[in-house]
């Protein structure tokens, strides 16, 4: 988000994604932060620890021996009623998996940043969406960011969403490793008092917590109908989170002068013939190509997906309704479909429309490679083919083909 400075900005800084995330965490005043440094999110830990050392943030810091115990510490603190923050990436997320499932099932409003990275093997400490996409059915809310500013703002919005008594779900704030975590950008810092006011509705919210006076057990060991009931309630909370995400985004825009469209953002797409669906840092490249092609008179557009879990199927289908063709760019692989994950889910969402829209998928930026504007232009030219009645390849690996 560039443009004029919002009147609700205390200062403008040049920050990378990790530092922007850390500043968002500072403003949300968590009671406990549990992190194990892992590339490419290590500076996020350093920045938060520095805030505590400087006396700017009074949070319990857990230097866990591993990501599994780190998230487990956050689970305990969150169950005791605290506001908690966790950060990780790639193999760190993989190591958390057992606790990852429990955090969601126990309905604990933990916020976790994922500086997204490839999963091993091959071993590669490089950018990708493979890590958070792999755990998409773990029951967390997953929000994907495009810029450092969006990372900061999304951390704040995430606590508002997670701690809503109708939701009570943990939230992943996903930002591409390297492309976002290490790239510096202009970032507007909101006033701490404004963030306090924005988070006020969830400041003293009643939720089940562990305390001596009114002892509770979590999670209870159960099966059968009661187990089914908790699964059902968990799924219902995901349904409710979609509409609430839009409402929170609107309120954020009113207060801070920056909005992101909620679940999705539609960019020059309402009258487009061909639209590309994208999430994460590569969306900036798609945005640029849309502008270039529009200059040439081509009716193209972008639909940026922000909310990956729960999947915004209703709004996505509405945004793509009437398009002659749709392309989807993925920085991840959905094994079994040999496509990207966003491709597969977009195709499923379009099933809700009466009209059949041809969808082509592009896998690019794998292994940390640059997802360039040239690639996006190629993607548009292939995505257009089915609308012209020409033969086309359903999935294209832009790095290889």
């Amino acid at each position: 988000m560039t443009g004029d400075r919002s009147p609700r900005t205390e200062a403008i800084r040049v920050l990378d994604g990790n530092k922007a995330c850390a500043y968002g965490v500072l403003l949300c005043k968590p009671d406990l932060v549990a992190c194990v440094p892992i590339t490419p999110m290590t500076p996020l830990v350093e920045a938060i620890w520095q805030y505590v050392a400087d006396g700017k943030l009074s949070a319990e810091l857990v230097e866990a021996d591993g990501e599994l115990s780190g998230l487990s510490a956050a689970i305990g603190a969150s169950a005791a009623g605290g506001r908690t923050f966790v950060g990780t990436s790639g193999q760190g997320l993989a190591f958390m998996f057992e606790a990852y499932l429990k955090a969601a099932g126990n309905r604990l409003p933990i916020v976790m940043a994922i500086a997204s990275r490839e999963t091993a093997a091959p071993d590669g400490v490089v950018a990708s969406h493979q890590d958070f996409v792999t755990v998409r059915d773990g029951g967390w809310i997953q929000i994907v960011c495009e810029s450092a500013q969006e990372v900061l703002d999304t951390v704040i919005m995430s606590y508002r969403l997670a701690e809503n008594p109708e939701i009570l779900l943990p939230v992943n704030v996903c930002y591409d490793g390297y492309y976002l975590s290490y790239s510096t950008e202009r970032v507007e810092l909101p006033y701490a008092s404004d963030v306090d006011a924005f988070l006020q509705p969830v400041a003293n919210v009643k939720r089940p917590t562990l305390c001596v006076e009114e002892p509770l057990t979590v999670p209870t060991n159960t099966s059968g109908d009661i187990f089914c009931e908790f699964r059902y309630k968990h799924a219902q909370a995901h349904s409710k989170a979609k509409g609430l995400m839009d409402e929170i985004d609107l309120e954020f825009a009113e207060r801070f002068g920056r909005g992101y469209g909620g679940q999705i953002e539609e960019y020059r797409s309402w009258d487009a013939d061909v639209a590309i669906v994208s999430m994460g840092s590569q969306t900036g490249a798609v945005r640029e190509v849309v502008d270039v092609l529009r200059e040439r008179g081509e009716r193209v557009g972008l639909v940026k997906l922000r909310l990956f879990r729960p999947f915004p199927r209703e709004r996505l289908a509405k945004a793509l309704s009437g398009k002659k063709a749709v392309g989807v760019i993925d920085r991840d692989v959905c094994f079994g479909w040999q496509s990207g994950s966003l491709f597969m889910e977009t195709k499923a969402a379009l099933q809700d429309l009466p009209q059949r829209i041809p969808v082509t998928g592009f896998i690019a930026g794998i292994g940390g490679t640059d997802l360039s504007t040239d690639m996006v232009e190629r993607a548009f030219s292939v995505a257009r083919l089915p609308s012209e009645g020409k033969t086309y390849q359903e999935i294209t690996w832009l790095n290889l083909e």
Binding site: N106, V218, I226
Partner: protein, 91 residues
């Protein structure tokens, strides 16, 4: 319309006695059948039951089937062979 059994959104449960808040009886494959004429009211089944489902010792042993998981410890420990485990579908 879904009828909720738990007041909680997640798998939380009150830890105040009685500790069993959720009916674990639907786990059961074998049901304990008490023979009151053989029962000597020693209370061994009462103390051995892992979920505290054996409740009434005043007249003869009585088990709360809402919580009995059918583990069979009571039948194995009973010194008077007053308890037999019967398959649920055969009862």
């Amino acid at each position: 319309m879904i009828k909720y059994k738990s007041p909680f959104e997640g798998p939380w449960v009150s830890a105040r006695p009685p500790l069993f808040a959720y009916p674990t009886g639907d786990w059961r494959a074998l049901r304990p059948i008490f023979n009151s004429s053989k029962c000597r009211h020693c209370g061994i089944c009462y103390f051995q039951c892992p979920v505290g489902a054996v409740k009434d010792m005043s007249t003869h042993c009585h088990v709360d089937l809402t919580y009995c998981k059918g583990c069979g410890i009571c039948a194995a420990e009973c010194p008077n062979a007053a308890i037999v485990m019967v398959r649920e579908e055969a009862k």
